[in-house]
Amino acid sequence: MNFALWTPLAVPVVLAVLSLTGGARPLGRLGPIASSAAVLLSGLLLVAAVLGGQVPTLGGGLLRADALSAYMLTVVGAVGLVSTWGGLGHTEKAPGRFAGSYDALISVFLAAMSLAVLADNIGLMWAAVEATTITTAFLVGHHRTRSSLEAAWKYVILGSVGVAIALLGIVLIYAASRGTGEPTLSWLVLSRTDLPLDPALIRAGGALAVLGFATKAGLAPMHSWLPDAHSQAPAPVSGLMSGVLLAVALYAILRIQTITDAVIGPDFLRVMLSVGGLLSLFVAAALLIRQRDFKRMLAYSSIEHMGMMAVGAAIGPAALPAVLLYMLGHGLTKATLFVLSGRILEVEGTPRIDDVRALLVRRPGLAVPWLIAMAALVGFPPFSIFFSEVGIIVAGFGTGMGVVVGIALVLLLVIFAALTRLTVAMTIGAPAAAPGTDPAGAALPGTDPAGTVAVPVRATPDRSAHGPRLPLILALATTAVVAFIAEPVGTLLARAAAVLGGAQ
Amino acid sequence: MIPAIAIALLQLVLFVFLSPLLIGVMRQVRARLEGRAGSGIWQPWRDVRKLVAKDPVRAADSSWMLAAGPVTLLASSLLLCVLLPLVGTLPLPLVPSDLFVIVSMMLIGVVALALVGLDAGTAFGGMGSSRHMTVAALVEPTLLLAVYALSIPAGTSTLSLIVETRLQNPAVIISPVSLLAMVALAIAIMAETSRLPIDNPSTHLELTMLHEAMVLEASGRDLAWLELGSWLKLAALLGLLSNLILPWGVLTDFSLPGVLVGLGAVTAKILLLGVALSVGEVFLAKVRLFRVPELLAGSFALALLAVTASYLVA
């Protein structure tokens, strides 16, 4: 099963090279999808291996797939597939000259994320995370407009500065491991509880590493790049970044947390993650109240969900399965929403919520999946985010973090109300009467309490989905049922959480 | 059980005859006090007879409510006469004279009257109905609380048992709690039966009418039932009030002399109270409609005071 460790790295890179050089455009465009599929398949193979009790390793232990890595790889693959497949319609509009590099960069981006989750070395993990910044920089700036250039600049500066701080932390952790005689960055070694690591260095290193990765994870106050980058990037890229890149960064935080918890106990990072999580929720709430742009709305919602996951991470082992499930649920839902937002942007030509009205009447093909995905995003069952949130909150009260979770609930309510208001503003309502239609048909609001009268159809509603439907249906269906699959998903999550809990 | 049913029927028959007489007496007393000759104490009887023998005229747009409403009002008043402890306090099995049942019974009549007022489709009927229901809504708490206060010493909400307790233990009657409650109850009954100062029963001026406005469109036997129902209600409630103030003479164990005494006592008490009421009304003016709630709020306060006092003081 060890080959599944290099396939998610090698296949996308090969496909990227093909995309760059490939003359056969229609086939080349499938490159990112093939890459995602490769990652997903490798992930599933590794999951099977892990559930069978194996721990595949490669390169002298440099690459290693425990339950957590296998799970994360699957999430990367699944979200990648939804984003790239769902974004198929999109790339057709891309400038032809850059289409090849666009596809290639997405493939490399996927490879970098795969490397980040498969590396057993936190240094390598860092390098992979930094590589994601490099690959996505041009993707964010893909549209070559003023705003996309601005977003890309901010993204690169803030992202690499943040990740640099993480490097400083990792250096300190490495320094702390010198006391063991054999300095190492292997996560497996560092997370052993019996190592004589220097607590002061681990504390500082852990704190700085978490702070640095928090930048990529979009946790406040390091989140500033996120709304800009997510709103300017092409929709599939936004989906990938929001859906998995943030989760991968959180994965890095979880790995670091395991190391520090073993040495200095959970309290220190618990406080830090709680503060970060609550601050993220606060920032998301504050900026969603009067949000005007639907892609930015989704971006702030990502900050919110990452904040909630950070709170879950702060709670510790009791909430970890919920956090991991959250990553999958949020990834798939957010990828769907970004893909849809891309399509809405394309057909409506504006990202402003005020300019997109009555979508449900005019374009049910886009509005219906949008509403379903929004329901999933704000945490309605049967979608898995509901279970994750409930799991985190119940675990929080059980761990004595009632106050933190209570504040989180208040902020979640504000966010819920704001998101609902914005979504309703976009989708619900009667369209403005088009010129040339019968004015008598425009029923005055409030004159018809029965609700049984049909408004004369003004124009044929646009039922087209403006792109492939299947990936979106698959994504939503997966989030809807995944929370009920106790076997094998439940076992996998339990094992993955056990990895972080220190048990092996 | 048989004696209880017998007493109930006796009360029914007695009050059907007594209530027009009571109205006649009250009108006559008032007329004399105002220096008029009056139409005699049997005039209400003659009115009823005359109305029954007339063709009722109904509005084209009215519904069955105009026919059913008066009968319902009459039925509710008749049931009131059956259930209240007037001649005797023998409770009927399965249908004791429960305070809450009695009040609901009475409210059915109130609702029927209000709907009759609305059904005619005129401005007056609606006005009367609206005012009537407003007053009824505000009276109900007072009525319930006042009787609740009286029920506390008896430990039951059955009116016959309350009257019996007062008969056996007259000290209860003049206790402060009881006095407060009686005043509150008296005001509530005045409002409930559309007497001064809440409503002027002899007026036909649109600004002051409550009851009369609702029956404007009724005619013939419909009007007869409405009038008879209202009179019966007044008589029954006055009977209850008098039995609460002066419980003596009420029959508690069935015996023929007891029945006669009971009949005589309740007739005398009701007529006496009626005369007192109409004497009082001569000296009263109707209060403005929007001052009525203040009056009712006052009586409500008295009743509430009575209840809490009976728990905390007594």
Binding site: R146, S147, A151, K154, I157, A164, Y174, P183, L185 | -
Partner: protein
């Protein structure tokens, strides 16, 4: 003999590092900053070499050469090339030089405090010099926060990165070689990307003033 020279050499190198960083906050001219960055790269390479000699590891010498090539020569050259293309090479920082230098002093003190807590058990010379690295990180950050030109921000980023490298070499003798290569490559790529973006910015706006990137908000 080397045992006595070693601390002095370390002190010299780290002193040069701190001095160049502080000077960069002081100077406004982009080209001057780039020259200082180049000097800093040389100092860092020297530091690595000293540590490598002291520990006798050949691997570290290779790293030293690498650092010299990348940080001392390649990157400054790229930057200078980019800067010459811009019309404005002067900078009007958001913080005046006096305040900037004072802040540098405060940040350096903070670094010493932090480092003294972290390395309380470690009495080696290199550990004593580690605060300098931390101070460089903070100064780099300060440059990023206060400078308006794209080029200056790049320089700030590089100072920050140099600081991290300094800490790495002083506290732990550097990270494993393959990682060092990876890290260097990453940094190089970031600089290249920023360089490209700065070029695009110049094409679009005619200058590289970061302040005009205010279109995306709330």
């Amino acid at each position: 003999m080397f045992d006595t020279v070693f601390p002095q050499l370390i002190g010299l190198c780290t002193g040069a590092l701190l001095l160049t960083s502080a000077l960069m906050v002081w100077r406004h001219s982009l080209l001057a900053s780039i020259r200082l960055l180049s000097v800093q790269g040389f100092a860092l390479a020297a530091l690595v070499a000293v540590i490598g000699l002291e520990e006798g590891e050949a691997e570290v010498i290779i790293v030293s050469v690498l650092v010299l090539l990348v940080k001392g020569m390649a990157l400054p050259w790229v930057l200078a090339h980019e800067t010459r293309a811009t019309t404005r090479t002067d900078e009007a920082p958001r913080l005046n030089p006096t305040a900037g230098l004072l802040t540098v002093a405060l940040l350096t003190i903070l670094s010493y405090v932090v480092a003294s807590r972290l390395l309380s058990g470690d009495t080696s010379i290199s550990a004593h010099a580690a605060p300098i690295g931390l101070a460089m990180v903070l100064i780099g950050f300060l440059l990023l926060v206060t400078r308006r030109q794209a080029g200056s921000q790049l320089i700030g980023f590089l100072v920050l990165d140099n600081g991290i490298a300094t800490v790495a070499f002083l506290t732990s003798g550097g990270v494993p070689l393959f990682l060092e290569l990876g890290i260097s490559l990453d940094v190089l790529l970031v600089v290249v990307i920023l360089y490209v973006f700065a070029g695009r910015m110049r094409n679009k706006f005619g200058n590289t003033d970061i302040d005009q990137l205010r279109k995306l908000h709330d």
